[in-house]
Symmetry: C2
Subunit: 592 residues, 2 copies
């Protein structure tokens, strides 16, 4: 076999020609038993026993072990036919450097010890993340971190640092960061630390490959294909047909939707530019994510041609407003191209009425995109998926498993109902990547569907989580998060010192509310009160961050002054954490 026939011809010596396996022990087989201990220590045990026990005693020890241990257990502690397992030893990293690690000669042992030391740091971090007695963060201002915290120096230099310093840097990086998996971290739509997903990410970075061709990512490319098909089935597209790709986040997924819509209706824009098309107009809710406007700016539509739609008091698009604005645009001679319906708005968690919007899109021949970056996860729940009723009528859907489904960042899918558009829109047929004369079925190469060339492997963690939890596992997670937000809503809707931003039960896990400090409770609504109330949430948030106790978002919206937006996607959160949050708001806010 070619693979096992290393070349012997010339050049520098092949580092693998020397034996890089850990030196096989010369102690007798009993010593293998002690190898599980840190190796150094294990050898010391062995040495000690060799000095202090007679040969007879050693053989007695060994045979006694053999009686107690299954062969499998014994083997696992020795070098066996299976992969040998490394144990952490007390390694002095102060004299080791990156250059001593693989592929360096004899680099295997320091490499393994270094990686295991890193894993020790990481697993400790994981344990602490879930421990409520730890802080969510240890806040420092930028200038403090830049000045250097107790030897944590961010500056880069010409000379290498020892691996000991590198390990210290790893610890410090985690120490001064934010525990986004902490049960009391509610600050973002992406929270939590899924252990299976984490394992998936570790594997992904170890595999260190690229999604553009089947050639170098055969397994991941197929996983992506099967997972996207499954998502399309769940959306309700017949037979799971259609197309899709994982992209670097919801904003890029939304950008894809606009590009594909433009290509569908005006394919000549690809070659001739926007001047080949009439003035094209995009429609999206005033509450929708800003990425639709960003896409409008980037792709050459212009933000003025992104028309914002009015919403009802709960933040849902008013279909009649859409139709009126479509008619208005047409009367001006513009071409209504694209409507974005949001399934789960960023602040209110509102679901636009997809079916009514779809009717209007059909009537006026417009592309319907559903931005389910945040709310798409609800499709996994039989109880809540009705909130996306009509999603199967969409031409494209953004759905971010890294939000409501708890998949580690980044994991965002753009799904397109019509096959071939993504490819048609983006392909450039680069000869060096997409050779037509490969030995395998090149329809599996995905690169020409993307606006990227290289594309990070975002699929594996998600696929692995799906395997490990099953569809029902995601459903349970989503139902639980929505129950928790209902718990919060029920708790505070009539509680003294709280005012909900809109009436009625939230549709998603977003619960938006003002906390009114005692000093403002009796005050009539006036400019002074509004100004003071506007400052409450930022002040409480700042104190939360300084104390490191919890984190929750706030923002103004339209003419509404700053209010808290509580969102729950964290699988570690429980009712007690919700209680903790309200207690904390009240504790910090009572004297404001």
């Amino acid at each position: 076999m070619a693979a096992s026939a290393p070349s012997s011809s010339g050049g520098d010596p092949d580092p693998n020609s020397t034996n890089l396996r850990p030196p096989s022990t010369t102690y007798d087989s009993w010593c293998g038993v002690a190898h599980g201990c840190t190796r150094k220590l294990g050898m010391k045990i062995c040495g000690f026993l060799q000095k202090n026990n007679s040969l007879e005693e050693k053989s007695r020890i060994v045979s006694s072990f053999r009686e107690r241990q299954s062969p499998k257990n014994l083997l696992s502690c020795e070098n066996s036919d299976r992969d040998s397992r490394f144990r952490r030893t007390e390694t002095d990293f102060s004299n080791l450097f990156a250059r001593d690690l693989l592929p360096a000669k004899n680099g295997e042992e320091p490499t393994m010890q270094f990686l295991l030391e890193v894993v020790d740091i990481l697993t400790n971090y994981v344990r602490k993340t879930f421990d409520r007695s730890t802080k969510v963060l240890d806040f420092h201002h930028p200038h403090q971190l830049l000045e250097g915290m107790e030897g944590f120096n961010l500056e880069l230099s010409d000379q290498p640092e020892s691996l000991e310093q590198i390990l210290v840097d790893c610890r410090d990086t985690l120490k001064y960061g934010v525990r986004t998996g902490h049960p009391r971290f509610f600050n973002q739509l992406s929270t939590g630390l899924d252990i299976i997903g984490l394992a998936g990410e570790w594997l992904t970075s170890t595999a260190n490959t690229n999604m553009f061709t089947y050639e170098i990512a055969p397994v991941f490319v197929l996983m992506e294909q099967l997972t996207l098909k499954k998502m399309r089935e769940i959306i309700g597209w017949s037979g799971g047909d259609g197309d899709g790709i994982f992209s670097p986040g919801g904003a890029i997924s939304n950008m894809y939707s606009v590009m594909v819509a433009r290509y569908k209706y005006f394919p000549e824009v690809k070659t001739k530019g926007m001047s080949a098309a009439p003035r094209l107009v995009l429609f999206t809710s005033e509450h929708s994510h800003y990425s639709i406007k960003k896409a409008g700016a980037a792709l050459g539509f212009g933000t003025e041609n992104v028309i914002l739609l009015n919403t009802d008091e709960k933040g849902r698009v008013i279909p009649a407003d859409l139709e009126a604005k479509v008619i208005d645009a047409k009367q001006k001679g513009y071409v209504p191209l694209f409507v974005n319906a949001t399934a789960g708005t960023t602040v209110y968690g509102a679901f636009d009425p997809i079916n009514e919007i779809a009717d209007i899109c059909e009537k006026y021949n417009m592309w319907l995109h559903v931005d389910g970056a945040w709310g798409g996860g609800l499709l996994m729940s039989r109880k809540h998926r009705h909130k996306l009723s009509g999603v199967e009528r969409a031409n494209s859907v953004t759905w971010n498993p890294h939000k409501m489904m708890g998949v580690p960042l980044q994991c965002s899918a753009i799904l397109v109902r019509e096959k071939g558009l993504l490819q048609g829109c983006n392909q450039m047929c680069a000869g060096y990547l997409f050779q037509p004369d490969k030995q395998y079925d090149i329809t599996y190469d995905t690169g020409d569907k993307a606006i990227q060339c290289g594309r990070h492997v975002d699929i594996f963690k998600f696929w692995l989580m799906w395997k490990a939890k099953g569809t029902i596992g995601f459903e349970q997670h989503i139902n639980k998060c929505l129950e928790l937000s209902e718990y919060l809503y029920t708790k505070i809707k009539n509680r003294e010192g709280y005012k909900m931003v809109s009436e009625g039960e939230p549709q998603h896990t977003n619960v938006c509310f003002w906390y009114i400090p005692p000093s403002l409770r009796g005050m009539p609504d006036c400019e002074d009160r509004r100004e003071r109330l506007h400052k409450v949430a930022p002040k409480i948030k700042a104190m939360m961050m300084e104390s490191g106790s919890t984190m929750v978002g706030y923002q103004p919206q339209g003419n509404k002054v700053n209010f808290f937006r509580m969102v729950i996607s964290n699988p570690a959160a429980t009712r007690s954490d919700i209680d903790f949050l309200t207690d904390e708001i009240e504790r910090l806010g009572q004297d404001l």
Copy 2:
């Protein structure tokens, strides 16, 4: 402190109120010594010794150890004041499921065991990656993998699978993948597996956060800022001034450059769209990366307005051709906006003459972008950076540390000389993320510079590698790769059966050549020979992949039939691997 005062009010019980630490051992202190072994086994050693040794003997053993071991070493093997360290035990994962892991009650022990088991799989993979007796890949066709390989089933289901199956899936995923870090993997511009970078990625995924605000990524945001400044200094921009961001790959970085150029000259396009500007023209080499055309298509310029420049025989832009085409465009009434100079083309590794192109850009008031995705790394080498001479005159630079600098995927920077343009071009001021009333200096929030919203943390691995290697470490790596390509070039340039695609020493590590099988060697150049030669590289490549021995790219270019493109960025590669490659080409190709 708020953080250490858990709420006691109501709801479901706090899972952290129970003690999740590993049960403290009841054996005496000597048992701690054996804890390093798999814990189960360790306990059996302890139990055995307790039965078979007198107390006196045990105390003698302990004191003897104490003499030999520093207290630090002893402590590290026990639960101590430091974080307790988990040891792998023989865990039965067949009855464990994702739901048993953290945040589940009592989930800490199975979580740690599961993660350590995954790490064992990964570290074995790492070891094998560097072992030349292993294959680069174990090739299977898509239909084979889809049909299920020995129980490796890619399909997703409703019900969860056991953690045992998940671990098997992890092993299989790696088994059927491609070892991109293998010393004989030369297929892509991104190769190798840097151990420090890998550790950095593991930490990044454990931290699982997002670059958009300082609030939730304080350390990473500062690392990005300092690293980008360092890169700008190396480019040669005075004081490292300017701006930049890490993006999801070189194609997106190049897209940024076009967007920023357009914003600089025609800021009204952001709001009014491309119709507010005259017909804008972009210029780039016929050998440049296809992402410039992709950007032209996506951003609404149209690929017809991306003018390809002629190159010399080595693939470098001919400046006179640029000037002629600029003049031609102006005569047609179009506006020349942007010139891309490639530093290291994808196939030939050619460096466009930046200074001469910069002269023309200045003369005609055009934006100069340098696409150094592949060649930017040479800036780290005092010996080779002259190839990018003039780069300091660029308005923007793409530089992918994940290519020539060996950083794991993805890591690509777009650097912009003028501050404020990125922000001006992309900002939408989303209230829910970029609150103006935060307690810290909000100029550190980076999100509004990006076309993305959420942005993956790509900086940490790179920062950590820089710390660990120093600037000189990168320099050594780059010099070594270029020496290896020189070795290959020198070896084959006059060797029978090889023909170089262009004369003279390559500028980068790209070495492009035809292998001419004996059957074609005497043949005069004619259509039949060309057709047959065109099939040689694909056939050899297919056989390489089937045997799994090595991987190298090939492609046609212009009117040149398929040739091999050898590239070296893999730090594990040595001369013997270069020899192996040519031996393998000759072995597989001799009978074609």
